[in-house]
Symmetry: C2
């Protein structure tokens, strides 16, 4: 449907690319929120008419899906090959959370649009390896990783879904941030150590 194997060099040269569109979409969302991400607004961000976008993406939802995939890729980190799986899992959780808090207006998007499954598996291959190195079956590893991912996303939803009280003066409300940080760590530790106990019992 889009970007269909163009015979290179022919036709009017493209000023738009999928990547430029996705980057501009993230700019708009970060600056003005999800609702501001209309096709017209995205067009003006790129100096282009709204309808031009449809040459590269079939509809608005495809834009959102592309944003999701791009952001999730941002969240994944490299891991030393000697990191034990519980620490690797906690590290992934932390970097995923950092990405989400860095794009608070996009969190509902990540919640609504699942990451492309093949892309997700590819990005998480390094993390899966840490489980395999410990002799943990792939299925059990996926369960643990997905459970943590789902917790991180749910937690971020709760944090950004409750705007830090628009009538208090200080912008981030230091204490509120600390509250969410502590909650996050407590839940994460509980889940990771719970999996440690459970998965070790099997081995």
């Amino acid at each position: 449907m889009n970007e269909p194997a163009p015979r290179r060099g022919r036709g009017r040269p493209a000023v738009l690319t999928r990547e430029r569109i996705v980057a501009a979409a993230i700019e708009v969302v970060d600056a003005e929120g999800l609702d501001a991400l209309t096709m017209r607004r995205l067009g003006t961000q790129l100096g282009v008419a709204a309808m031009s976008l449809y040459r590269h993406l079939p509809n608005r939802d495809a834009v959102l899906a592309a944003v999701v995939d791009h952001l999730f890729a941002e969240a994944v980190i490299d891991l030393d090959a000697d990191t034990p799986w519980p620490e690797a899992l906690a590290r992934f959780a932390g970097s995923y959370r950092l990405m989400l808090l860095g794009h608070p207006h996009a969190v509902p998007l990540l919640a609504t649009h699942p990451v492309d499954i093949d892309l997700g598996l590819e990005l998480l291959a390094g993390l899966l390896d840490r489980f395999e190195a410990a002799g943990i079956p792939r299925q059990d590893a996926l369960t643990a990783i997905q459970s943590v991912a789902v917790y991180v996303l749910g937690h971020a939803l709760a944090q950004v879904g409750t705007p830090p009280d628009t009538n208090t003066p200080e912008p981030p409300a230091e204490t509120a941030v600390a509250f969410y940080d502590q909650w996050f760590e407590a839940g994460l530790r509980a889940m990771v150590s719970g999996f440690e106990g459970g998965l070790d019992r099997g081995r």
Copy 2:
């Protein structure tokens, strides 16, 4: 703003109430999905013009918020006073999940619109009591409950966000359901037993 202490009996009798509107909204969402829940569609569901709804709720978002509160209240169960907190927590998780899977199209709503905080605390008072009975500080209890709630919601998002493959013949795809059930139980057990270890170390 709405339902402002009407002097009873005066004026045209109301065919609409907040409750009827919320119930109709849930019907529409369950039957046709979130996008179908427009003010006009909700009006026809109630045999009424769209603008009539604004006499009872200030805008569409208030309808959504009311739906969220109503559904969350559905999810909370009564607990025997002698249930230990780990079991009570797991029971709450299960009934919350059942509600979410009973209204799959509404799950993104619950994810986006936080439950009214006072209502939430009121509904969860019984569960909080189970922690207090074990001598666990209220703050720790809230952390554990919220962590589990966030996990359940995130898990439901993942399950309903990945429609069970529209090209396979069987509607619920038995194996997929079992997959999500097992994943849910594994993550829940990990988190609950993780909190058991953590909270007991303190006592």
